[in-house]
Symmetry: C2
Subunit: 444 residues, 2 copies
């Protein structure tokens, strides 16, 4: 694929102001991040979905188990290795062996290519890497052939006392690339003298998007003060409903009133900035991922009249878990296009560094819809080149370089929010299983 | 310039074995470096001249004030920014302002482009950067135009009590890009609460190549044990004469006997490995740089019959300093060629990371001569891409990728040696000026 696809941004309005502000403040911003990382430890890795509306540039999702390293351009890998070296040095400098635990599904070739690439990056930092599976189907070391003569060996996990590994391999560090949507497996609980990255409470068994965006509120507020901008230009409004049952149609009043409230607030902001757009919100599961259980709502009447099909769609996410908690998030239209299809940038980070990114492109979707859906494809970008070294003398927006620097900044705001979030939710995982949050399936 | 020039390596002999050993040991090597950097702090930056003889791959010089950042490819700059962020985080995490002190000569446009690029990299880490000159000619802020609409503002240094800066700018960190060949200026002595990078004793006023290669001996020894190889394959023999006067023709016996001894040792190794080459040594000033005061010696008779011209050439280096101390170093022929001209790789590092490199090419010189001489030019390479992420499945040597990984490893051995060297020579700069080593011109 071409490394620099024809990127279209339709708007010449206030975003260029924001980009110019970000570029002019580069030194201030980078120092601010440097000081923040002295107080807060970034997660080992993460990816952020951004939406660029021209008048607004904001994160809409933050993944702590990024599964698309295969979508990064080859040119960016050295940067990823360097960042991983830094992470290992901070988190487990003596480490010799690392166990990588991927998602359970072993048949998705794209995902497996991601795992292989992640293993390659980690090996280049001086780690012996083996791959241990939570899948009950993996009962002996299994070799999987991948495109390009690559191959992956996946082994059954072995628990010995309070340590986890694979046969003949006792790792000092365990890296999860499994988001624990199905709950925290007993085999991962109570590990001793082994560092688990990210920690268990970063998984969807415990994590809530609303907790992330509450932390992001604070980060965005501080950043906005630093740059003397309206924090709304980098921060989507959100609300939460904690006791929904789509099948039994309970809790819908909470949903409707919050949708109404958010649409009003967005309408007011659109009026303030003279934006001629129809406000919309996105309703999605507060825990979970994979683009399931997501709905675009343009009118409060839409959520009062959910038909059976819509309710069924919203009620269940990955691994068949029931949705009882939802986040209602201000919709940010994306004006980015790649080859005439709607696109949104996804930024990858390891440690505190941007290591690349790509566009998620979906020709079947509109600018106000979730793109993480059937029909999507990915266009890699040599992202970091421009993400940490903008050309400050160039016009903002005209050069992709400068646009991508802004993307890297906003993505790192979300990464910082994730750090705060994880600091605050660490106590949740020490609860006994039956006291875990409502949607968490426990054990497995 | 083409990013991947036609690289010719003439030899298919033992070096491929060494490269294969290095590739196969990547995980071991990277972990070993990680552990070394826990005990030793790398210099802020450095560059290493390598020579690749096919049968041997070794550093021949290590510069702690690299002046060729302009020769790195644009693609490598993000990697340099990331490394500089890491260095700042380790050395002065709170830093807001950094003062960059370049070489005195303000008219060399290539060097000034290096300074501008270095400043750009540093600014991208979140530092306010101003440039202060030691030159007496700079009496007020001076703007210098550079190619590509770039410009550089150089300001006179201001000393206020025990702090240094430029007008209206009080830096917490001072980065020298001046190798102090002319001695340690009084204005840099006795700074308090300002971190000076690299420290004063890294300058040629104090530093000796022989101290560096003594430390490199130890590093190469340990590395050779790790890889179970002969340390000679990565380490040039050397000796030192400390009391030479080329004008008065004193100390020449020391030179002759050491040349003789080294040639014998090299001859023995060549015999051991079946290498049909004429051994040679390089005689060069033990302190100093810029390719001055360097001589290729193939026969001990050569140094017994130095004519007036040769003696004059050897007697003086940069800034007119007299040479009394020389290092005699095993000559490593370079079999690298770029477009039919003799070439040697130069590897750039910031903090513990390889951030790029280039070939120094000199069509007027032979494979056993110093290339840092009139007629040289530089060919940048997208170096780090291959320097931290080799393709272990490919044949060594066939893919430039894998060759460059080896170069990055050997260069980092020299960087580690520089760390040891600086740990051991720190006491030298605290001496009173008149007790400083013989060649050090003091004050200025």
């Amino acid at each position: 694929m071409h490394p620099n696809p024809n990127l279209v941004t339709a708007d010449n309005g206030p975003l260029l102001e924001l980009e110019r502000r970000i570029l002019d403040s580069m030194t201030t911003i980078e120092r601010w991040f440097r000081l923040q990382w002295q107080d807060h430890t970034p997660p080992f890795y993460g990816s952020v979905d951004l939406r660029n509306a021209g008048f607004k540039l904001a994160p809409v999702d933050m993944n702590l188990y990024p599964g698309g390293f295969n979508n990064l351009s080859e040119e960016m890998l050295p940067s990823a290795v360097q960042a991983a070296q830094s992470a290992i040095e901070h988190l487990c400098p003596d480490a010799r062996n690392l166990l990588l635990i991927p998602e359970r599904h072993t048949r998705n070739i794209y995902y497996l290519t991601n795992v292989a690439r992640l293993a390659r990056i980690l090996r280049a930092t001086g780690l012996e890497v083996r791959i241990g599976s939570l899948s009950v189907e993996v009962t002996s070391p299994t070799t999987i052939s991948l495109p390009g003569n690559d191959r992956l060996v996946v082994e059954p996990l072995v628990r010995t006392g309070n340590r986890i590994g694979v046969a003949g391999f006792d790792p000092c560090a365990v890296l999860l690339n499994n988001d624990l949507s199905a709950g925290i497996p007993d085999i991962l609980r109570g590990l001793e003298d082994q560092i688990l990255l990210p920690p268990l409470h970063a998984g969807w068994a415990v994590r809530r998007k609303s907790q992330h965006f509450a932390a992001y509120d604070e980060v965005a507020q501080e950043f906005a003060q630093l740059l003397k901008i309206d924090s709304w230009t980098v921060n989507p409004y959100f609300a939460r409903c904690g006791q929904i049952n789509f099948h039994e149609r309970t809790g819908e009043e909470c949903l409707a009133s919050n949708v109404d409230m958010l649409l009003s607030r967005i309408r007011a902001k659109y009026k303030e900035y003279g934006i001629n757009e129809q406000p919309f919100v996105i309703v999605k599961a507060d825990a979970g991922t994979y683009g399931m259980g997501i709905m675009t709502v343009r009118d409060v009447a839409d959520v009062r009249e959910l038909n059976r099909k819509q309710r069924n769609k919203m009620a269940v996410v990955k691994e068949g878990l029931e949705v009882n908690e939802v986040i209602i998030q201000e919709g940010v239209p994306t004006y980015e296009k790649v080859e005439d299809a709607v696109a949104e940038p996804v930024v990858y980070m390891v440690d505190r560094y941007v290591v690349g990114g790509f566009y998620r492109v979906n020709k079947d979707r509109g600018i106000d819809e979730n793109l993480n859906a059937p029909g999507m494809h990915f266009v890699p970008l040599a992202f970091a080149g421009s993400c940490n070294l903008p050309d400050c003398s160039a016009q903002p927006g005209t050069a992709a370089t400068n646009r991508f620097y802004s993307y890297g900044v906003i993505a790192r705001l979300a990464l910082l929010a994730a750090s705060l979030e994880l600091e605050r939710t660490g106590h949740l995982v020490t609860r006994a299983p039956d006291a875990a949050p409502a949607t968490a399936a426990v054990g497995n």
